[in-house]
Amino acid sequence: MSEQTSNPIRDAIAEAIADNPVILFMKGTPDAPACGFSARTVAALQALDAPFAAVDILPDPRIRQELSGLSNWPTIPQLFVKGELVGGADIVTEMFESGELAQTLGVEQPADATVAEPQPKPLGIENRLG
């Protein structure tokens, strides 16, 4: 995809990031994550009881392309807080376990903070974007 001056999808992504203090771009939805990494990231946010906006990138492959172009981050999920990319599943999990995520989100760290690592689901859904 070449750089274009008018890019409605990229503009919509940038606007969503600007408008939502905590926003997660993921595969599937928080209730039905379509990938183990997205599930793990949602679990960390939910364990902190942190409100977040979520965008499913699966319906249109251009969302992922434009998001990665914008963030310079190749993988999904991507968590943004106050307009800044915080990271993907690895970084979010690591920050959750260390208490930094609670700090970044301005919420209380629960006493027994652990995230179960779900096994990656069968790859059929993810491969829609293969």
Binding site: F37, V86, G87, D90, I91, P120, G130
Partner: protein
Amino acid sequence: MPTPDEIKQRIEAALPGAAAEVEDYTGGGDHFRATVVSPAFDGLSRIAQHRLVYDIFGAEIGGPIHALSLTTKVPEQA
């Protein structure tokens, strides 16, 4: 299809002083998990550390390398 050993070698060749451990954690040849220790990470945020590793593979991430799960450390943390 990349092998864990290829990924390890490419990381170690690209990052000065890096030591990488890479496993194929689904056995499917496309989901990898890597722990990378390199002085090149010193002083960088986690985002920047992971980008250094992702940049080695460019568009292969999300393509033939479906997922590369990362833990990055500087030698003092290892």
